[in-house]
């Protein structure tokens, strides 16, 4: 596929979203809700002099049917769940642990002689007596039993709501266990009520990984060019597809945080040449703190989308500035594009002109717009469940983010350069140059710049708004999660899950782009849609008779 073709599919068009859509929806709310939700709904307009602002990472109003989850889900479910060689014990009643069992599709392969605990979940199954008398003893016993069974690299302890309330000190238990058993034990105070969404949990997990895991061993990378992939959780095998491309280009992957990841790899991740960040929201903390502590630079990449993948690979080449590497990257891109061209043209012919709505977590709603653009599709609505303002508006607005009562309780870890481990990669002047030359060099532009005038950007979309916007915008496909997939499908809108990929994938990289289009075409064109209305609803089967005549 020629670059011209790609550029053409990426031409921006004005969307056909009626200008009063947001008002029509908001007008149905009572005053208090109206006032709150108004700030979370933006009709994108790049012609305005002042950049548009959106309210994000603030409390959900109770009773709205939000799709948001909790702090624990972000910490244990998202960031820690994929780490395969740690024994992650959930300290709490059984449910919290149960719901993270095998349900997020962060794939992990068992390496020879390696420990893979991803197919398991562990809980202290707190009972009423533990709530009344405290559960620290039980937690200690659980650690002991887990160590005896698995001999893991580390023990992670995640707390749930009641643990924080009854005052069990999981950090003290972790310290005692570490001293007693000689195994690294890290506690994560990720009680579900903390913060306003999963996002708090990402932050708490990141803080502890920085504090207790990264920088522990100094085994250097083998190759000349090496990276860590941050914010890539290997859903449906995405990380493996990304790694396949990097390896083809001759780039070594030191660690992935945290898809198919391990404590062992993370411990030496500071030795890598560069951090590349896929999911900005969940893990930019680590990228920025590693930058301060170890001098390792980071680039915001995106391996979802054909054009985006090319751009991301090229950015890495540009960073290392090695002609051999740059040539290899170009050769790999040319080869991969040639291989997918026939499929790409076919799927594009089936998808071009279709419209989409996206409501996912904190990065994918942006990433997938780029993939949809590759196929000539446009986005009419995009929203995040738990993003912050910078994920929408870009890093430039960071200083204007207000700290509120919910956020200030999430520790903002302050780090310093680590003596003996901080390495200067480039001079300050060179860094400034890289910032100019490489899109996403220590910078995230945010989602809004991707979006066309007149499209909708929504934060913390709720069920009511989903139904209303679908009625108004009539997208051909709505990408979302399991909670509203069947709501949309029942209403006749094709819906695919972008959290779990509906148990398919990978969707990352070049091959992923084809998988994605295949699944989308399958869903849009399945013959089942034509059976929704029974024939007797459109063709009368009863012949009328008058006055009972025969």
């Amino acid at each position: 596929m020629s670059p011209e073709v790609l550029d053409k599919v990426c031409e921006r068009e004005e969307s056909g979203v009626p200008t009063d859509t947001v008002d029509t929806v908001l007008d149905q709310y009572e005053a208090k809700v109206y006032k709150n939700r108004k700030k979370h709904l933006v009709t994108v307009d790049h012609t305005l002099e002042t950049p548009q602002e959106i309210a994000a990472n603030v409390r959900t109003i109770p009773g709205m049917l939000t799709h948001r989850g909790c702090c624990y889900a972000g910490c244990k479910g998202v960031v820690l769940g994929p780490v395969k060689d740690a024994l992650t014990i959930v300290h709490g009643p059984i449910g919290c642990s149960f719901y993270t069992w095998g349900t997020r599709r962060h794939k992990a392969v068992t390496e020879e002689d390696g420990l893979n605990l991803v197919p398991y979940v562990f809980s202290t199954d707190m009972r009423e007596t533990d709530i009344v008398f405290g559960g620290e003893k039980k937690l200690m016993s659980a650690i002991e039993e887990g160590l005896e069974l698995f001999n893991p690299s580390a023990v992670f302890i995640c707390s749930t709501c009641p643990v924080g309330l009854i005052g069990d000190d999981i950090h003290a238990v972790a310290a005692r266990a570490e001293a007693r058993f000689g195994v690294k034990c890290v506690a994560f105070s990720c009680e579900g009520y903390k913060g306003v969404s999963q996002s708090a949990g990402h932050h708490i997990a990141s803080n502890q990984i920085i504090r207790r895991v990264i920088g522990e061993t100094d085994t250097p990378p083998e190759g000349e060019f090496s990276v860590n992939i941050l914010g890539e959780y290997n859903i449906g095998g995405d990380s493996w597809e990304t790694e396949r491309l990097l390896h083809r280009c001759g780039i070594e992957v030191v660690s992935v945080m945290t898809g198919d990841g391990s404590v062992t790899d993370m411990q030496r991740s500071h030795m890598a040449g560069l951090n590349i960040v896929q999911c900005h929201r969940s893990i930019n903390y680590i990228a920025e703190m590693m930058n301060t502590q170890y001098g390792i630079d980071w680039i915001k990449v995106n391996f979802v989308g054909i054009k985006a993948t090319c751009k991301s690979l090229r950015a890495i080449g540009q960073y290392f500035a090695d002609q051999g590497l740059i040539d290899r990257i170009e050769a790999v891109i040319a080869d991969e594009l040639e291989e997918l061209d026939e499929d790409f043209q076919y799927y594009k012919s089936r998808l071009e002109g279709k419209t989409a709505a996206l409501y996912v977590g904190g990065s994918r709603s942006h990433h997938y717009q780029q993939l949809l653009r590759d196929y000539g599709m446009s986005t009419v609505l995009a929203g995040y469940e738990f993003a912050h303002r910078d994920d929408y508006e870009g890093h430039e607005i960071r200083d204007s983010i207000k700290i509120d009562a919910d956020n200030k309780n999430i520790e903002n870890l302050q780090v310093e350069p680590v003596e003996g481990k901080y390495r200067v990669r480039f001079s300050p002047d060179k860094i400034e140059e890289l910032k100019k030359d490489i899109d996403g060099f220590e910078y995230y532009e945010g989602m809004i710049k991707e979006m066309d005038n007149g499209t909708l950007m929504v934060d913390d979309l709720n069920h009511f708004e989903t139904e209303e916007f679908v009625k108004a915008l009539k997208p051909d496909v709505f990408f979302s999660g399991i909670k509203d997939k069947f709501v949309l499908q029942k209403g006749g809108i094709m819906s695919r899950q972008l959290h779990s990929y509906d148990y398919k994938g990978p969707y990352a990289g070049f091959k992923g782009a084809i998988n994605f289009a295949h699944d989308l075409v399958m869903g849009l064109y399945t013959p089942v849609w034509s059976q929704v209305v029974p024939p007797w609803r459109s063709t009368p089967v009863l012949t009328g008779t008058v006055g009972g005549e025969k």
Partner: protein, 457 residues
């Protein structure tokens, strides 16, 4: 698969639960609440609880599972969730307009001691609308307990006695799928019994594709019918863990007598249910039902040689596990491992009764309440089985041990259609029979030598 599980011995654990065979109360409470028409289930806790529960129910039923949350923050956890509940109720009625909000608690709101009774009595509820609640602390019981508490909550808060007998029977179907509820209704209809099923998720969690999403689908027990249960004639509880609390509540509140039966799974338990209906209605068992029973027995006899003495491991919720165990025994199988994660209720004694009645020698079968899949796996490694029976949570063990799995019960999150079809009644038993035979016979066909492939079986 499950490569980390030590294979040389079984480790006794007292603190660590690994790969649980139960989950927490609120998810059951939501499922029960979805079985009452026009109801919005509401979780009084942090957002994550309801996000997980909706996710999980949707994965089992492949249907929307609507529920709202009080969205506790750290502040609410310290100062109490009264204000959050008040705001929730106002917003839910104003935006989503249900007839009833069914609130359940979580470990969070229970631990801080939120008093739902006083909260709700202080909340302004619009004319003609209702808010009820039940207590479902996640650190007690299991999802089955939550179902049972919410079902009882409907009676406690809603059922009224006017003194005008309705002549109706209340039927509590147990923590079963809509497909099972439809089968139970078929039985009731065969005896012309006038009944109210509570809860009734038919038409809600198995709603048809029409091209229009309904926030409150056609199905579910009508609210007025629950109110009228105070004047009911009698009630039936199917599956004591899930259903006894509800019939007890009606007995306590309005003195309605009841019969509690095991879930009608397999022959004997279905016989007991059918005879109870016959006795209650004063109607002889209709031929259509006797015919179904005869067909089931016919099939079991036809195929007995493929199941006889096959070793099966059974797990899941206690009412379902007892039903599956009884049916396995009726088929001549050996239920070598029988486990549930749900505590209490005399599970082990009831298993023993079934085994004794079938003449199984003591020590042949291992059974335990409050076990987990990790323990059962370690035991199965020591003494392999021919078949696994229960939720899809067996899946990894099935792969690790290369053992066929027949899915039955809750949750089944990796297959389609299952929730539309019954495992209760004679028809449900016939479905299970077919599934077990297919699993074992497909395996025989796949594994036998070419010269041993049986063209006719």
């Amino acid at each position: 698969m499950l490569d980390a599980t030590p294979r040389d011995s079984v480790m006794e654990r007292h603190a660590l639960v690994a790969n649980p065979c139960k989950t927490c109360q609120p998810v059951g409470a939501i499922y029960a609440a979805l079985g009452v028409h026009g109801t919005m289930p509401h979780s009084h806790g942090s957002q994550g609880c309801v996000a997980f529960h909706r996710m999980f129910l949707t994965r089992h039923f492949k249907e929307p599972a609507m529920a709202s949350t009080s969205a506790f923050t750290e502040g609410a956890s310290v100062f109490g969730g009264g204000a959050n509940l008040k705001t929730s109720v106002r917003n839910i009625f104003s935006i989503y307009d249900p007839d009833l909000i069914a609130v359940h608690t979580t470990c969070l709101s229970e631990t801080i001691g939120d008093d739902l009774h006083s909260f709700i009595s202080e909340i302004e509820v619009p004319e003609g609308k209702r808010v009820i609640y039940c207590s479902t602390p996640s650190y007690q019981g299991s999802h089955v307990t939550g179902f049972s508490s919410m079902a009882a909550g409907f009676i406690t808060h809603l059922a009224e006695k006017t003194g005008q007998p309705t002549g109706k029977a209340m039927v509590v179907p147990g923590f079963v799928n809509p497909g099972d509820m439809r089968e139970l209704k078929k039985h009731l209809d065969a005896f012309d019994i006038d009944y109210t099923m509570v809860p009734d998720t038919t038409g809600v969690m198995d709603a048809p594709m029409t091209g229009t999403f309904e926030l409150y689908p056609k199905g579910g027990t009508p609210l007025d019918d629950i109110v009228a249960l105070g004047d009911a004639k009698y009630s039936f509880a199917l599956g004591p863990w899930a259903s006894d609390a509800c019939v007890n509540a009606l007995k306590r509140k309005h003195d309605v007598e009841y019969t509690s039966l095991p879930l009608p799974m397999g022959i004997a338990a279905t016989d007991a249910w059918i005879m109870a209906l016959s006795q209650y209605s004063g109607t002889p068992v209709p031929y259509v039902i006797e015919e179904e029973r005869g067909q089931l027995v016919d099939c079991m006899l036809d195929a007995h040689q493929y199941l006889d003495k096959k070793r099966v491991a059974i797990a899941g919720d206690p009412d379902t596990v007892l039903g599956l165990t009884a049916f396995a025994l009726e088929c001549g199988m050996i239920p070598a491992f029988i486990g549930t994660g749900t505590p209490g209720g005399g599970f082990e004694g009831k298993v023993k009764e079934l085994l004794d009645a079938a003449g199984i020698e003591e020590g042949t079968c291992w059974y335990k309440s409050e076990t987990d899949y990790f323990e059962m796996h370690q035991r199965i490694i020591q003494e392999p089985v021919d078949l696994l029976l229960g939720p899809s949570l067996w899946k990894q063990i099935a792969k690790a041990e290369d053992t066929p799995l027949v899915r039955a019960g809750f949750p089944i999150i990796d297959r389609y259609v299952h929730s539309y079809l019954p495992i209760v009644g004679y028809k449900g038993a016939m479905r299970l029979l077919e599934k077990m035979l297919d699993a074992l016979m497909d395996r025989q066909d796949a594994e036998c030598a070419d010269e041993d492939l049986e063209f006719v079986m």
